[in-house]
Amino acid sequence: MDAQPAYGAYGVKIVIDKSGTMWHTNSAGGWWYYNGNGGWTGSATPPVVPSTSPAGATVTASGQLPRLQITQAGQWAFPAGNANLVPVVANGKVYVASYGQLTIWGLAN
């Protein structure tokens, strides 16, 4: 990884705003964003940054099947036995039957 000082900038935090622009803030609380041409533009207001992605949000590299969700959906009481369980999808719902439980999944209203 290359690590070179960038155009005289210094600070305590770097963030990417919603449009993908890089901002940095210094210890005094000032904000600057990169102008794309080796310089910085000061701002009286901090950048609008994205909210934290939900748990399980995934980026998958090329050649991969991206994971959309992974979640606990049931239980299995007997470790000596395989759980060859089949997820069933019908009409907007997912059904998971396991040990002592049926869970139903779908979109919250």
């Binding site: 963030v15 980026v59 099947l65 991206p66 994971r67 992974i70 036995g81 396991s98």
Partner: protein
């Protein structure tokens, strides 16, 4: 193929299947009437319009219900849609889709998919206890009842299933034909009995005491088919593989059946267990996968290990049977079957799927077993027979050790894909367009984080909206070593179904560069490489921390200062339960808070109160009758005295008791809310809840009870 081979209402996107083969349906609601959705066992529901990749990947995807059942369920759930019920004249009785569940205590349940209410339930006998199984086989629940997936015949509004019952100190199999609308038996059940012909012309009787009926039932050719094999490879000198059939409607046994090992004497070669003595086997079990059928009604299944002898025996083989089971019309036995036998590497751990043929295209099937080879069988030619010394006629690829079965879908590019489920990763393979072609690897999933709790492999199904772009979702279930079942949803679109960038709790943007390091890709933090990291997956955990996984399935979490916490387990990605999802002492189940903690009730401990259990351990001093999650993801529980408590991370914080008591003990009201009102969705329930703020002074009540959105209650 007969129309009953296709789930009613599924609108196939493949024109070559032929309109004549499909069952017409005005409604586009899907019924799931058989294992893996159809007789070919594709596992494809291509009429799913709601659960797109975007919807499934959003925070709106949640658990809606957790219904407590008495014991283990090995059978796949089956669904009859509300539209189908209405078309039968039962719309008022069954206003929502109905889920049919069969369990290992010989119970059948009909459950309302929208409310989670158990509408009907019936027991069909005493299941066989483990101590009465051959060798006291332990790879099952403590009882074995309905071990296989039933099959629904929508034309006759019945469900067929096979119970295992203990009758007069004897294990008995019975075939049942049950009316779907009231769970009554349409005709008396039929005891499973059969005689098979051995190589010398003598006969051997089917013995229920040693046979396991694990494969899902097949409805095809107006017959019901069921496969049988062993319990834990026990009673080796008796147990053999069987394929039996009965006429649908009458349950009259077919005149013919298939006995996979027809040797007259049990042999003692290649005993993989080093045990003295001899054995038969060539079981039919397929990890619960069902026998499949092609458009001509031929029946296919795969057998398990035997004694390494091929004469009068079909071990580790793919069989094609005539619809009446009168003959094996073709087969494939791998050249190395004897070594597979010797190592207990049988091919019968996986099922066979008939690939729906495209118009004028080749006709294939695929099968995969413990040694991981995924075979591509050309159904238009011979299946390959047995070639002493090899090479095998069908081509194969390595897709991972498989106690599993394949699935199938067609992408928006019109290309056919087989989904394999070996080891701990799903893979997609492009189906060749010529008969001599081979499967081509396309894409692979992240490792199922907890698929290490059992033998390798798992089961998947696929949903899609025809071939609409970004609609295909691959669904999988795996079991962890600590007994948890995980549901995974994958995009069926390689490398483009997930977000290109995710954000951690510090607002950092994480993505991949196109620059590769071996099989990995360089990880980018706010657009720049960081700490030499590379991998194939970036995930945000429930605490908002970024993790990445490399192609060796090793995980690192970001330390917030340009470095990594290496190989420190796996990310906890359990999303919190939606607000207002309730667990009661009678409903059972569990909820997950914003910190990823799983909550449930344990034993009854104090009056009508039950212990509160956090991640499997009792929380000292905490007990109650109900628990829920508020809009902030906090866990709350209420005890029988009406007191609310919120989990603070190390203990429970009680809300102002005087204010709660004043509200909870208003004259004329129960000291705690009516249980029925919270577990039902009758209109009066929401009315009770909606009226509360108006009837209660705007004071402590709304601050001292969990905030739950009213809309989600109904």
């Amino acid at each position: 193929m007969h129309s009953e081979n296709f789930p009613r209402g599924f609108v196939r996107a493949l024109p070559a299947i032929g309109a004549a083969l499909l069952m017409a349906s005005a409604a586009h609601a899907a019924d799931v009437t058989t294992y893996h959705y159809d007789a070919q066992r594709t596992g494809l529901n291509n009429a799913e319009t709601t659960l797109t990749q975007a919807a499934v990947g959003s925070s709106a995807f949640h658990r809606l219900h957790a219904i407590t059942l008495p014991t283990q369920v090995d059978a796949q759930p089956l669904i009859v849609s509300a539209a189908t019920m209405a078309s039968w004249g039962y719309g008022s009785q069954f206003p929502h889709d109905v889920v049919y569940i069969a369990d290992e205590a010989d119970n059948v349940f009909a459950i309302d998919s929208s409310t989670g209410a158990i509408l009907l339930q019936k027991n069909f006998g005493t299941p066989v206890a483990q101590q009465n199984l051959p060798g006291q086989c332990g790879n099952n629940a403590t009882t074995v009842g309905i071990n296989s997936t039933p099959v629904i015949d929508p034309a006759n509004k019945v469900m067929y299933f096979i119970t295992y019952t203990w009758e007069n100190n004897t294990a008995v199999y019975r075939v049942h034909e049950m009316n779907l609308v009231d769970l009554s038996e349409k005709i008396p059940s039929v005891v499973v009995a059969a005689k098979g012909t051995l190589s010398d012309g003598s006969s051997v009787s089917f013995f229920a005491g040693t046979e396991r009926q694990r494969p899902a039932l097949l409805l095809a050719n107006s017959n019901i088919y069921a496969g049988f094999g062993s319990f834990c490879d026990s009673n080796l000198t008796i147990t053999r593989g069987w394929m039996l059939g009965w006429q649908a409607g009458t349950l009259t046994p077919l005149a013919a059946n298939e006995l996979t090992d027809q040797q007259t004497t049990a042999q003692s070669t290649n005993n993989p267990y080093g045990l003295p003595g001899a054995f038969f086997l060539s079981s039919v079990w397929m990890s619960g996968f069902g026998p499949s059928a092609d458009a001509a009604g031929n029946v296919y299944f795969v057998t398990g290990n035997s004694d390494g002898i091929f004469a009068n025996n079909l071990p580790d083989s793919l069989l094609r049977m005539a619809p009446n089971l009168s003959s094996v019309t073709d087969y494939f036995t791998p050249a190395n079957f004897a070594s597979l036998d010797a190592a207990d590497e049988d091919r019968g751990s996986g099922g066979v799927m008939v690939v729906p043929p495209l118009s004028n295209g080749p006709q294939f099937a695929v099968s995969q077993g413990k040694d991981g080879r995924l075979f591509l069988h050309n159904l238009a030619a011979n299946l390959g027979g047995f070639v002493q010394g090899g090479p095998d006629v069908p081509s194969s690829v390595n897709a991972g050790a498989c106690w599993c079965g394949p699935a199938y879908y067609v992408g928006s590019d019109g290309k056919q894909r087989v989904v394999s489920n070996g080891n701990v990763q799903a893979q997609t393979w492009l189906v060749p367009t010529t008969p001599s072609g081979t499967l081509t690897a396309e894409a692979i999933s992240p490792e199922l984080p907890s698929a290490d709790g059992q033998d390798p492999g798992f089961m998947s199904t696929v949903s899609s909206n025809g071939t609409t772009a970004n609609s295909a979702v691959v669904w999988s279930l795996s079991r962890s070593s600590n007994g948890l079942i995980f549901l995974q949803a994958l995009s069926g679109t390689m490398g483009s179904g997930g977000p290109a960038t995710v954000y951690d709790k510090a607002g950092n943007a994480w993505s991949f560069s196109s620059q590769q390091v071996g099989s990995d890709y360089v990880v980018l933090l706010n657009g720049a490489p960081v700490g030499g990291a590379h991998g194939i997956d970036i995930v945000i955990d429930q605490a908002g921390t970024m993790w990445h996984m490399n192609s060796q399935n090793l995980w690192w979490s970001y330390n917030g200062a340009g470095g990594w916490n290496g190989q420190s387990g796996e990310p906890n990605v359990a999303a919190p339960s939606p607000a207002a999802v309730w667990v009661t002492t009678t409903s059972g189940g569990s909820i997950v808070d914003a910190s990823g903690n799983s909550w449930s009730f344990g034993s009854q401990s104090s009056g009508t109160n039950y212990d509160v259990v956090l991640n499997g351990s009792q929380v000292p001093g905490a007990y109650g009758v109900d628990m829920t999650i508020d809009t902030a993801g906090n866990m709350w529980h209420i005890n029988s005295g009406g007191g609310w408590y919120r989990w603070t991370g190390s203990g429970c914080r009680i809300s102002p008791p005087a204010r709660i008591s004043r509200h909870r003990r208003r004259p004329g009201r129960s000291s705690r809310r009516p249980r029925a009102a919270w577990s039902q969705t009758a209109p009066g329930v929401s009315g009770v809840l909606a009226r509360r703020p108006a009837r209660t002074p705007k004071s402590s009540w709304m601050r001292s009870r969990p905030m739950v959105p009213m809309a989600s209650r109904s």
